[in-house]
Amino acid sequence: MLAVFQKEISLFLNSLIAYIVIGVFLTGIGLLTWIFPNTNVLDYGYASLDTLFDLGPYVLMFLIPAITMRTLAEERKTGTIELLLTRPLTDWDIVFGKFLASWALVIFSILPTLIYYVSVYQLGNPTGNIDTPGIIGSYIGLILLGGLFAAIGMFASSLTDNQIVSFILAVFFCFIFFDGFEAIANIDVWGTLSLLISQIGIVYHYKTLSKGLLDLRDLVYFFSVMAFFLATTFTIIRSRKW
Protein backbone atom coordinates (compact mmCIF):
# COMPACT_ATOMS: atom_id res chain seq x y z
CA MET A 1 0.00 0.00 0.00
CA LEU A 2 2.84 2.33 0.87
CA ALA A 3 4.37 1.77 -2.55
CA VAL A 4 1.11 2.75 -4.27
CA PHE A 5 0.79 5.78 -2.01
CA GLN A 6 4.31 6.96 -2.85
CA LYS A 7 3.78 6.33 -6.53
CA GLU A 8 0.60 8.42 -6.56
CA ILE A 9 2.27 11.25 -4.70
CA SER A 10 5.19 11.28 -7.10
CA LEU A 11 2.76 11.23 -10.04
CA PHE A 12 1.01 14.27 -8.59
CA LEU A 13 4.34 16.02 -8.33
CA ASN A 14 5.62 14.96 -11.75
CA SER A 15 2.48 15.90 -13.62
CA LEU A 16 2.09 19.32 -11.99
CA ILE A 17 -1.32 18.30 -10.65
CA ALA A 18 -0.17 18.89 -7.09
CA TYR A 19 1.10 22.41 -7.74
CA ILE A 20 -1.96 23.39 -9.70
CA VAL A 21 -4.38 22.04 -7.10
CA ILE A 22 -2.62 23.72 -4.20
CA GLY A 23 -2.12 26.93 -6.16
CA VAL A 24 -5.70 27.17 -7.37
CA PHE A 25 -7.18 26.27 -4.01
CA LEU A 26 -5.11 28.83 -2.13
CA THR A 27 -5.64 31.56 -4.72
CA GLY A 28 -9.37 30.95 -4.85
CA ILE A 29 -9.92 30.71 -1.15
CA GLY A 30 -7.51 33.61 -0.54
CA LEU A 31 -9.45 35.86 -2.89
CA LEU A 32 -12.73 34.91 -1.23
CA THR A 33 -11.43 35.39 2.30
CA TRP A 34 -9.45 38.58 1.86
CA ILE A 35 -10.24 40.42 -1.37
CA PHE A 36 -13.72 39.86 -2.81
CA PRO A 37 -16.00 42.56 -1.40
CA ASN A 38 -18.98 40.45 -0.44
CA THR A 39 -17.13 37.75 1.39
CA ASN A 40 -13.91 39.16 2.81
CA VAL A 41 -13.16 39.09 6.50
CA LEU A 42 -11.86 42.65 6.65
CA ASP A 43 -15.14 44.30 5.61
CA TYR A 44 -17.17 41.85 7.63
CA GLY A 45 -15.57 43.19 10.75
CA TYR A 46 -15.77 40.07 12.90
CA ALA A 47 -12.72 37.98 13.77
CA SER A 48 -13.91 34.74 12.23
CA LEU A 49 -13.00 32.48 9.34
CA ASP A 50 -16.57 31.64 8.35
CA THR A 51 -15.87 32.48 4.71
CA LEU A 52 -13.14 29.88 4.55
CA PHE A 53 -15.27 27.18 6.05
CA ASP A 54 -18.51 28.09 4.29
CA LEU A 55 -17.08 28.45 0.81
CA GLY A 56 -14.15 26.02 1.17
CA PRO A 57 -16.36 22.98 0.56
CA TYR A 58 -17.55 24.45 -2.74
CA VAL A 59 -14.00 25.02 -3.92
CA LEU A 60 -13.06 21.50 -2.85
CA MET A 61 -16.15 20.15 -4.60
CA PHE A 62 -14.47 21.00 -7.91
CA LEU A 63 -10.85 20.51 -7.00
CA ILE A 64 -11.02 17.08 -5.42
CA PRO A 65 -12.81 15.44 -8.36
CA ALA A 66 -10.06 16.94 -10.52
CA ILE A 67 -7.48 15.20 -8.36
CA THR A 68 -9.25 11.87 -8.20
CA MET A 69 -10.68 11.68 -11.72
CA ARG A 70 -7.54 10.10 -13.12
CA THR A 71 -6.73 7.72 -10.25
CA LEU A 72 -8.50 4.69 -11.68
CA ALA A 73 -9.93 5.96 -14.95
CA GLU A 74 -6.50 6.69 -16.40
CA GLU A 75 -5.04 3.40 -15.22
CA ARG A 76 -7.82 1.66 -17.05
CA LYS A 77 -7.51 3.67 -20.20
CA THR A 78 -3.75 3.27 -20.52
CA GLY A 79 -3.86 -0.34 -19.38
CA THR A 80 -1.51 0.24 -16.47
CA ILE A 81 -4.18 -1.19 -14.20
CA GLU A 82 -3.09 -4.57 -15.59
CA LEU A 83 0.41 -3.90 -14.31
CA LEU A 84 -0.88 -3.12 -10.85
CA LEU A 85 -3.30 -6.00 -10.66
CA THR A 86 -0.74 -8.59 -11.74
CA ARG A 87 1.67 -7.50 -9.02
CA PRO A 88 1.66 -8.82 -5.47
CA LEU A 89 -0.73 -6.07 -4.38
CA THR A 90 -4.17 -6.68 -3.00
CA ASP A 91 -7.04 -4.68 -4.44
CA TRP A 92 -7.23 -2.92 -1.09
CA ASP A 93 -3.61 -1.81 -1.37
CA ILE A 94 -4.44 -0.14 -4.64
CA VAL A 95 -7.70 1.53 -3.62
CA PHE A 96 -6.50 2.62 -0.22
CA GLY A 97 -3.07 3.76 -1.36
CA LYS A 98 -4.59 5.92 -4.04
CA PHE A 99 -7.24 7.27 -1.71
CA LEU A 100 -4.72 8.23 0.95
CA ALA A 101 -2.52 9.95 -1.62
CA SER A 102 -5.44 12.05 -2.88
CA TRP A 103 -6.48 12.90 0.66
CA ALA A 104 -2.92 13.83 1.59
CA LEU A 105 -2.81 16.25 -1.32
CA VAL A 106 -6.07 17.83 -0.15
CA ILE A 107 -4.74 18.18 3.39
CA PHE A 108 -1.57 19.74 2.03
CA SER A 109 -3.55 22.37 0.23
CA ILE A 110 -5.72 23.12 3.27
CA LEU A 111 -2.87 23.42 5.77
CA PRO A 112 -1.39 26.73 4.51
CA THR A 113 -4.68 28.45 5.37
CA LEU A 114 -3.58 28.16 9.00
CA ILE A 115 -1.86 31.46 8.22
CA TYR A 116 -5.35 32.96 7.90
CA TYR A 117 -6.06 31.86 11.43
CA VAL A 118 -2.88 33.52 12.66
CA SER A 119 -3.73 36.71 10.75
CA VAL A 120 -7.28 36.94 12.04
CA TYR A 121 -6.02 36.10 15.51
CA GLN A 122 -3.70 39.11 15.32
CA LEU A 123 -6.36 41.37 13.81
CA GLY A 124 -8.88 40.62 16.54
CA ASN A 125 -9.64 43.34 19.05
CA PRO A 126 -8.37 42.56 21.60
CA THR A 127 -5.78 40.32 19.96
CA GLY A 128 -6.80 36.69 20.14
CA ASN A 129 -10.50 37.39 20.31
CA ILE A 130 -11.43 34.47 18.14
CA ASP A 131 -13.35 31.24 18.59
CA THR A 132 -10.34 28.91 18.57
CA PRO A 133 -12.20 25.66 19.41
CA GLY A 134 -14.69 26.46 16.67
CA ILE A 135 -11.86 26.87 14.20
CA ILE A 136 -10.17 23.66 15.27
CA GLY A 137 -13.48 21.87 14.80
CA SER A 138 -13.96 23.52 11.44
CA TYR A 139 -10.54 22.41 10.28
CA ILE A 140 -11.26 18.86 11.35
CA GLY A 141 -14.57 19.13 9.51
CA LEU A 142 -12.96 20.50 6.35
CA ILE A 143 -10.28 17.80 6.34
CA LEU A 144 -12.83 15.03 6.88
CA LEU A 145 -14.96 16.54 4.17
CA GLY A 146 -11.93 16.48 1.89
CA GLY A 147 -11.50 12.79 2.66
CA LEU A 148 -15.11 12.08 1.92
CA PHE A 149 -14.98 13.96 -1.38
CA ALA A 150 -11.82 12.03 -2.24
CA ALA A 151 -13.60 8.74 -1.54
CA ILE A 152 -16.53 9.84 -3.70
CA GLY A 153 -14.08 10.88 -6.42
CA MET A 154 -12.36 7.49 -6.34
CA PHE A 155 -15.72 5.82 -6.64
CA ALA A 156 -16.62 7.96 -9.67
CA SER A 157 -13.23 7.21 -11.20
CA SER A 158 -13.76 3.49 -10.84
CA LEU A 159 -17.02 3.66 -12.79
CA THR A 160 -15.55 4.71 -16.12
CA ASP A 161 -12.34 4.93 -18.09
CA ASN A 162 -13.19 8.44 -19.23
CA GLN A 163 -11.73 11.12 -16.98
CA ILE A 164 -14.24 13.78 -17.91
CA VAL A 165 -17.18 11.53 -17.14
CA SER A 166 -15.51 10.64 -13.89
CA PHE A 167 -15.01 14.31 -13.00
CA ILE A 168 -18.59 15.30 -13.75
CA LEU A 169 -20.02 12.36 -11.83
CA ALA A 170 -17.76 13.10 -8.87
CA VAL A 171 -18.78 16.77 -8.72
CA PHE A 172 -22.41 15.73 -8.91
CA PHE A 173 -22.13 13.12 -6.17
CA CYS A 174 -20.18 15.51 -3.96
CA PHE A 175 -22.83 18.16 -4.42
CA ILE A 176 -25.67 15.74 -3.66
CA PHE A 177 -23.95 14.50 -0.55
CA PHE A 178 -22.94 17.92 0.64
CA ASP A 179 -26.02 20.02 -0.05
CA GLY A 180 -28.51 17.77 -1.76
CA PHE A 181 -29.79 15.79 1.18
CA GLU A 182 -30.17 18.93 3.26
CA ALA A 183 -32.19 20.55 0.49
CA ILE A 184 -34.33 17.46 -0.03
CA ALA A 185 -35.00 17.30 3.70
CA ASN A 186 -36.32 20.84 3.51
CA ILE A 187 -39.10 19.88 1.12
CA ASP A 188 -42.20 19.95 3.23
CA VAL A 189 -43.43 16.40 2.70
CA TRP A 190 -41.27 14.29 4.96
CA GLY A 191 -42.62 15.15 8.37
CA THR A 192 -40.48 13.51 11.00
CA LEU A 193 -38.30 11.81 8.37
CA SER A 194 -36.84 15.17 7.49
CA LEU A 195 -34.20 15.08 10.23
CA LEU A 196 -33.07 11.61 9.19
CA ILE A 197 -32.67 12.69 5.57
CA SER A 198 -30.65 15.75 6.45
CA GLN A 199 -28.44 13.53 8.61
CA ILE A 200 -27.47 11.54 5.53
CA GLY A 201 -26.02 14.72 4.05
CA ILE A 202 -22.65 16.16 4.94
CA VAL A 203 -23.76 19.68 5.89
CA TYR A 204 -25.58 18.51 8.98
CA HIS A 205 -22.43 16.98 10.45
CA TYR A 206 -20.08 19.60 9.08
CA LYS A 207 -22.08 22.34 10.83
CA THR A 208 -21.83 20.64 14.21
CA LEU A 209 -18.10 20.23 13.85
CA SER A 210 -17.63 23.88 12.93
CA LYS A 211 -19.25 24.88 16.19
CA GLY A 212 -16.28 23.25 17.86
CA LEU A 213 -18.36 20.32 18.93
CA LEU A 214 -16.39 17.11 18.38
CA ASP A 215 -19.25 14.66 18.50
CA LEU A 216 -18.29 11.03 18.02
CA ARG A 217 -21.41 10.51 15.92
CA ASP A 218 -20.22 13.03 13.35
CA LEU A 219 -16.79 11.44 13.17
CA VAL A 220 -18.42 8.05 12.76
CA TYR A 221 -20.57 9.51 10.00
CA PHE A 222 -17.61 10.82 8.02
CA PHE A 223 -15.56 7.67 8.35
CA SER A 224 -18.41 5.32 7.58
CA VAL A 225 -19.45 7.18 4.43
CA MET A 226 -15.79 7.18 3.33
CA ALA A 227 -15.62 3.47 4.06
CA PHE A 228 -18.82 2.94 2.09
CA PHE A 229 -17.50 4.63 -1.05
CA LEU A 230 -14.12 2.94 -0.79
CA ALA A 231 -15.76 -0.44 -0.34
CA THR A 232 -17.89 0.22 -3.41
CA THR A 233 -14.80 1.19 -5.37
CA PHE A 234 -13.09 -1.96 -4.17
CA THR A 235 -16.07 -4.03 -5.25
CA ILE A 236 -16.06 -2.45 -8.70
CA ILE A 237 -12.38 -3.29 -9.16
CA ARG A 238 -13.09 -6.76 -7.90
CA SER A 239 -15.90 -7.17 -10.38
CA ARG A 240 -13.43 -8.05 -13.14
CA LYS A 241 -13.24 -11.42 -11.43
CA TRP A 242 -16.95 -12.10 -11.75
Binding site: L2, A3, V4, Q6, K7, S10, L11, N14, S15, T78, G79, T80, E82, L83, L85, T86, R87, P88, L89, T90, R240, K241, W242
Partner: protein, 306 residues
Protein backbone atom coordinates in the same frame (compact mmCIF):
# COMPACT_ATOMS: atom_id res chain seq x y z
CA UNK B 1 8.78 -23.29 -11.61
CA UNK B 2 6.67 -25.08 -14.11
CA UNK B 3 3.41 -23.89 -15.55
CA UNK B 4 0.58 -26.36 -15.89
CA UNK B 5 -2.51 -25.34 -17.82
CA UNK B 6 -5.35 -27.78 -17.62
CA UNK B 7 -8.53 -27.71 -19.64
CA UNK B 8 -8.64 -23.94 -19.64
CA UNK B 9 -11.78 -22.24 -20.96
CA UNK B 10 -12.53 -18.55 -21.20
CA UNK B 11 -15.90 -17.65 -22.62
CA UNK B 12 -17.24 -14.21 -23.37
CA UNK B 13 -20.93 -14.82 -23.66
CA UNK B 14 -21.27 -17.71 -26.09
CA UNK B 15 -17.96 -16.99 -27.79
CA UNK B 16 -15.05 -18.98 -26.49
CA UNK B 17 -11.82 -17.02 -26.55
CA UNK B 18 -9.98 -19.99 -25.10
CA UNK B 19 -11.44 -23.41 -25.66
CA UNK B 20 -10.18 -26.30 -23.53
CA UNK B 21 -6.48 -25.62 -23.71
CA UNK B 22 -4.04 -27.86 -21.85
CA UNK B 23 -0.27 -27.72 -21.86
CA UNK B 24 2.74 -27.75 -19.57
CA UNK B 25 5.91 -25.75 -19.54
CA UNK B 26 8.96 -27.18 -17.81
CA UNK B 27 11.49 -25.15 -15.85
CA UNK B 28 14.24 -23.75 -18.05
CA UNK B 29 12.14 -24.06 -21.15
CA UNK B 30 11.33 -21.24 -23.55
CA UNK B 31 7.90 -21.70 -24.97
CA UNK B 32 6.76 -19.75 -27.98
CA UNK B 33 3.08 -19.08 -27.97
CA UNK B 34 1.92 -18.55 -31.50
CA UNK B 35 -1.26 -17.74 -33.25
CA UNK B 36 -2.96 -15.21 -35.44
CA UNK B 37 -4.42 -12.10 -33.87
CA UNK B 38 -7.39 -12.90 -31.71
CA UNK B 39 -6.47 -16.54 -31.31
CA UNK B 40 -6.53 -16.38 -27.53
CA UNK B 41 -2.86 -15.90 -26.75
CA UNK B 42 -3.25 -12.80 -24.63
CA UNK B 43 -6.32 -14.15 -22.90
CA UNK B 44 -4.41 -17.26 -21.82
CA UNK B 45 -1.57 -15.12 -20.53
CA UNK B 46 -3.90 -12.81 -18.67
CA UNK B 47 -5.44 -15.78 -16.94
CA UNK B 48 -2.02 -17.23 -16.11
CA UNK B 49 -1.01 -13.96 -14.43
CA UNK B 50 -4.22 -13.74 -12.47
CA UNK B 51 -5.50 -10.61 -14.19
CA UNK B 52 -8.73 -12.13 -15.39
CA UNK B 53 -10.42 -15.30 -14.14
CA UNK B 54 -10.97 -18.36 -16.28
CA UNK B 55 -14.45 -19.65 -16.99
CA UNK B 56 -13.30 -23.14 -16.12
CA UNK B 57 -10.08 -25.11 -15.88
CA UNK B 58 -6.99 -24.50 -13.82
CA UNK B 59 -3.61 -22.89 -14.21
CA UNK B 60 -0.85 -23.85 -11.79
CA UNK B 61 2.30 -21.75 -11.66
CA UNK B 62 5.03 -23.40 -9.62
CA UNK B 63 2.33 -25.40 -7.89
CA UNK B 64 0.22 -22.37 -6.97
CA UNK B 65 -3.29 -22.08 -8.35
CA UNK B 66 -3.75 -18.72 -10.05
CA UNK B 67 -7.23 -18.16 -8.68
CA UNK B 68 -6.79 -19.62 -5.20
CA UNK B 69 -3.26 -18.38 -4.48
CA UNK B 70 -3.17 -15.41 -6.78
CA UNK B 71 -0.85 -13.38 -4.58
CA UNK B 72 1.73 -16.18 -4.40
CA UNK B 73 1.66 -16.54 -8.16
CA UNK B 74 2.07 -12.82 -8.69
CA UNK B 75 5.17 -12.81 -6.50
CA UNK B 76 7.05 -15.24 -8.74
CA UNK B 77 5.80 -14.14 -12.13
CA UNK B 78 7.31 -11.39 -14.22
CA UNK B 79 4.77 -10.14 -16.71
CA UNK B 80 5.00 -7.88 -19.69
CA UNK B 81 1.44 -7.19 -20.82
CA UNK B 82 0.48 -6.66 -24.42
CA UNK B 83 1.00 -3.05 -25.58
CA UNK B 84 3.42 -2.60 -22.67
CA UNK B 85 1.48 -0.16 -20.49
CA UNK B 86 3.71 2.24 -18.55
CA UNK B 87 3.34 5.32 -16.40
CA UNK B 88 4.52 7.88 -18.88
CA UNK B 89 4.80 10.62 -16.25
CA UNK B 90 7.32 8.66 -14.21
CA UNK B 91 11.08 8.58 -14.57
CA UNK B 92 12.79 5.31 -15.38
CA UNK B 93 14.48 5.01 -11.99
CA UNK B 94 11.40 6.10 -10.13
CA UNK B 95 9.27 3.56 -11.94
CA UNK B 96 11.65 0.69 -11.30
CA UNK B 97 11.88 1.73 -7.66
CA UNK B 98 8.11 1.60 -7.43
CA UNK B 99 8.01 -1.90 -8.90
CA UNK B 100 10.78 -2.95 -6.51
CA UNK B 101 8.84 -1.65 -3.55
CA UNK B 102 5.70 -3.39 -4.69
CA UNK B 103 7.69 -6.60 -4.61
CA UNK B 104 9.04 -5.65 -1.20
CA UNK B 105 12.68 -5.74 -2.23
CA UNK B 106 14.57 -4.16 0.67
CA UNK B 107 15.99 -0.79 -0.33
CA UNK B 108 19.56 -1.88 0.37
CA UNK B 109 19.25 -4.52 -2.32
CA UNK B 110 16.99 -2.52 -4.58
CA UNK B 111 19.51 0.11 -5.59
CA UNK B 112 22.19 -2.25 -6.94
CA UNK B 113 19.48 -4.40 -8.48
CA UNK B 114 18.04 -1.48 -10.43
CA UNK B 115 21.51 -0.61 -11.62
CA UNK B 116 22.06 -4.17 -12.75
CA UNK B 117 18.73 -4.44 -14.53
CA UNK B 118 19.23 -1.11 -16.31
CA UNK B 119 22.50 -2.40 -17.62
CA UNK B 120 20.96 -5.71 -18.61
CA UNK B 121 18.15 -4.05 -20.51
CA UNK B 122 20.53 -1.63 -22.19
CA UNK B 123 18.91 1.43 -20.67
CA UNK B 124 22.04 3.20 -19.40
CA UNK B 125 21.83 6.07 -21.85
CA UNK B 126 18.17 6.75 -21.22
CA UNK B 127 17.99 5.95 -17.54
CA UNK B 128 17.46 9.51 -16.34
CA UNK B 129 14.61 10.32 -18.69
CA UNK B 130 10.91 10.40 -18.22
CA UNK B 131 9.33 7.26 -19.66
CA UNK B 132 7.00 9.34 -21.83
CA UNK B 133 9.95 10.82 -23.68
CA UNK B 134 11.48 7.46 -24.58
CA UNK B 135 11.17 5.89 -28.00
CA UNK B 136 9.14 2.75 -28.46
CA UNK B 137 12.17 0.46 -28.33
CA UNK B 138 13.37 1.92 -25.07
CA UNK B 139 9.90 1.77 -23.57
CA UNK B 140 9.86 -1.90 -24.43
CA UNK B 141 13.12 -2.28 -22.54
CA UNK B 142 11.63 -0.53 -19.56
CA UNK B 143 8.73 -2.97 -19.78
CA UNK B 144 11.14 -5.88 -19.81
CA UNK B 145 13.18 -4.37 -16.99
CA UNK B 146 10.12 -4.10 -14.77
CA UNK B 147 9.17 -7.69 -15.56
CA UNK B 148 12.65 -8.90 -14.62
CA UNK B 149 13.36 -6.67 -11.65
CA UNK B 150 12.31 -9.04 -8.89
CA UNK B 151 14.14 -11.94 -10.51
CA UNK B 152 10.97 -13.91 -11.22
CA UNK B 153 11.04 -17.65 -11.68
CA UNK B 154 8.47 -17.46 -14.42
CA UNK B 155 8.42 -14.90 -17.20
CA UNK B 156 5.32 -14.25 -19.22
CA UNK B 157 5.89 -11.88 -22.11
CA UNK B 158 3.06 -10.86 -24.36
CA UNK B 159 4.47 -9.87 -27.75
CA UNK B 160 7.69 -8.41 -26.39
CA UNK B 161 9.08 -7.45 -29.78
CA UNK B 162 6.19 -5.78 -31.58
CA UNK B 163 6.99 -2.40 -33.04
CA UNK B 164 10.74 -2.70 -32.69
CA UNK B 165 13.27 -2.26 -35.46
CA UNK B 166 15.29 -5.31 -36.57
CA UNK B 167 18.32 -4.43 -34.44
CA UNK B 168 16.23 -3.97 -31.36
CA UNK B 169 14.40 -7.22 -32.02
CA UNK B 170 17.69 -9.07 -32.08
CA UNK B 171 18.81 -7.38 -28.88
CA UNK B 172 15.59 -8.15 -27.06
CA UNK B 173 15.74 -11.75 -28.25
CA UNK B 174 19.27 -12.10 -26.97
CA UNK B 175 18.19 -10.63 -23.68
CA UNK B 176 15.37 -13.12 -23.36
CA UNK B 177 17.69 -15.96 -24.28
CA UNK B 178 20.29 -14.81 -21.81
CA UNK B 179 17.92 -14.55 -18.86
CA UNK B 180 15.97 -17.66 -19.66
CA UNK B 181 18.62 -20.08 -18.52
CA UNK B 182 17.21 -20.69 -15.09
CA UNK B 183 13.69 -19.48 -15.70
CA UNK B 184 10.54 -20.65 -17.33
CA UNK B 185 9.67 -18.34 -20.17
CA UNK B 186 6.44 -18.14 -22.11
CA UNK B 187 6.20 -15.55 -24.78
CA UNK B 188 3.69 -14.88 -27.46
CA UNK B 189 4.35 -13.62 -30.90
CA UNK B 190 3.10 -13.89 -34.41
CA UNK B 191 6.54 -13.67 -35.91
CA UNK B 192 7.83 -17.09 -36.86
CA UNK B 193 11.52 -16.25 -37.09
CA UNK B 194 11.36 -15.32 -33.48
CA UNK B 195 10.27 -18.79 -32.52
CA UNK B 196 12.93 -20.29 -34.71
CA UNK B 197 15.52 -18.05 -33.11
CA UNK B 198 14.90 -18.58 -29.44
CA UNK B 199 12.28 -21.16 -28.57
CA UNK B 200 12.68 -24.74 -27.56
CA UNK B 201 9.08 -25.50 -28.12
CA UNK B 202 6.16 -23.87 -29.83
CA UNK B 203 2.46 -24.03 -29.26
CA UNK B 204 0.32 -22.79 -32.08
CA UNK B 205 -3.19 -21.87 -31.19
CA UNK B 206 -6.00 -20.88 -33.45
CA UNK B 207 -9.47 -19.76 -32.43
CA UNK B 208 -8.89 -20.76 -28.86
CA UNK B 209 -7.65 -24.29 -29.50
CA UNK B 210 -4.19 -25.76 -29.71
CA UNK B 211 -3.41 -26.88 -33.25
CA UNK B 212 0.23 -27.79 -32.69
CA UNK B 213 2.35 -28.42 -29.63
CA UNK B 214 5.81 -29.67 -30.49
CA UNK B 215 9.46 -28.79 -30.47
CA UNK B 216 10.58 -26.22 -32.98
CA UNK B 217 12.80 -28.87 -34.55
CA UNK B 218 9.95 -31.21 -35.29
CA UNK B 219 7.81 -28.36 -36.59
CA UNK B 220 10.55 -27.55 -39.04
CA UNK B 221 11.01 -31.20 -39.92
CA UNK B 222 7.30 -31.44 -40.63
CA UNK B 223 7.78 -28.73 -43.17
CA UNK B 224 10.86 -30.28 -44.65
CA UNK B 225 9.43 -33.12 -46.71
CA UNK B 226 7.82 -30.77 -49.21
CA UNK B 227 9.37 -28.49 -51.73
CA UNK B 228 7.98 -25.57 -53.67
CA UNK B 229 9.60 -24.40 -56.87
CA UNK B 230 9.17 -21.24 -58.85
CA UNK B 231 9.85 -22.03 -62.45
CA UNK B 232 9.96 -19.67 -65.42
CA UNK B 233 9.89 -20.53 -69.06
CA UNK B 234 10.05 -18.23 -72.04
CA UNK B 235 6.60 -18.51 -73.52
CA UNK B 236 3.65 -20.85 -73.08
CA UNK B 237 4.10 -24.46 -72.03
CA UNK B 238 1.78 -27.41 -71.81
CA UNK B 239 0.16 -27.78 -68.40
CA UNK B 240 -0.80 -31.42 -68.87
CA UNK B 241 2.85 -32.30 -69.36
CA UNK B 242 3.69 -30.77 -66.02
CA UNK B 243 0.85 -32.52 -64.32
CA UNK B 244 1.95 -35.87 -65.60
CA UNK B 245 5.29 -35.52 -63.84
CA UNK B 246 5.56 -37.89 -60.92
CA UNK B 247 5.59 -36.22 -57.50
CA UNK B 248 3.84 -32.98 -58.48
CA UNK B 249 0.78 -32.36 -56.39
CA UNK B 250 0.15 -28.64 -56.72
CA UNK B 251 0.34 -26.43 -59.78
CA UNK B 252 -0.29 -22.77 -60.05
CA UNK B 253 0.13 -20.58 -63.09
CA UNK B 254 1.35 -17.20 -61.86
CA UNK B 255 1.52 -15.57 -65.28
CA UNK B 256 2.60 -16.51 -68.78
CA UNK B 257 5.32 -19.09 -68.48
CA UNK B 258 5.70 -18.73 -64.77
CA UNK B 259 4.59 -21.58 -62.55
CA UNK B 260 4.55 -22.44 -58.92
CA UNK B 261 5.01 -26.14 -58.47
CA UNK B 262 5.03 -28.01 -55.20
CA UNK B 263 5.51 -31.63 -54.44
CA UNK B 264 7.33 -34.07 -52.24
CA UNK B 265 11.02 -33.50 -51.74
CA UNK B 266 12.04 -37.06 -52.40
CA UNK B 267 10.77 -37.12 -55.97
CA UNK B 268 13.65 -35.01 -57.29
CA UNK B 269 11.39 -32.52 -59.02
CA UNK B 270 14.09 -30.13 -60.16
CA UNK B 271 15.91 -32.73 -62.18
CA UNK B 272 12.70 -33.92 -63.79
CA UNK B 273 11.72 -30.40 -64.74
CA UNK B 274 15.05 -29.70 -66.37
CA UNK B 275 14.87 -32.96 -68.28
CA UNK B 276 11.31 -32.26 -69.36
CA UNK B 277 12.25 -28.79 -70.57
CA UNK B 278 15.12 -30.18 -72.56
CA UNK B 279 12.95 -32.91 -74.09
CA UNK B 280 10.14 -30.50 -75.04
CA UNK B 281 12.50 -27.78 -76.14
CA UNK B 282 11.08 -25.27 -73.65
CA UNK B 283 13.45 -22.43 -72.82
CA UNK B 284 13.96 -22.65 -69.10
CA UNK B 285 14.64 -19.12 -67.80
CA UNK B 286 14.73 -19.62 -64.08
CA UNK B 287 14.19 -22.07 -61.27
CA UNK B 288 14.15 -21.12 -57.62
CA UNK B 289 13.34 -23.10 -54.51
CA UNK B 290 10.87 -21.43 -52.19
CA UNK B 291 11.84 -22.00 -48.57
CA UNK B 292 9.32 -24.14 -46.78
CA UNK B 293 9.65 -22.47 -43.43
CA UNK B 294 7.69 -22.35 -40.22
CA UNK B 295 5.66 -19.58 -41.79
CA UNK B 296 4.08 -22.05 -44.14
CA UNK B 297 3.39 -24.45 -41.30
CA UNK B 298 1.83 -21.60 -39.39
CA UNK B 299 -0.29 -20.59 -42.35
CA UNK B 300 -1.45 -24.11 -42.99
CA UNK B 301 -2.37 -24.71 -39.39
CA UNK B 302 -4.16 -21.44 -38.82
CA UNK B 303 -5.81 -20.88 -42.16
CA UNK B 304 -9.43 -20.06 -41.48
CA UNK B 305 -11.69 -22.81 -42.65
CA UNK B 306 -15.18 -21.48 -42.88
Amino acid sequence: MSIIVKDLVKAYGTQKAVDHISFEVQPGEILGFLGPNGAGKSTTMKIATGYIPSTSGTVLVDGFDVTEQSLEVRKIVGYLPEHNPLYLDMYVHEYLRFIGKVHKIPSVKLKPRIKEIIQMAGLEVEQNKQIGSLSKGYRQRVGLAQALLHDPKVLILDEPTTGLDPNQIVEIRNLIKQISQEKTVVFSTHIMQEVQAICDRAIIINRGSIVADQSVESLKAGAADRITLLVEWAGEIDESMLQSLEGVDQLENLHTGKWKISGSKTSDLRKKLVNLSAAQNWDLMGLTVEEHSLENVFRELTATKD
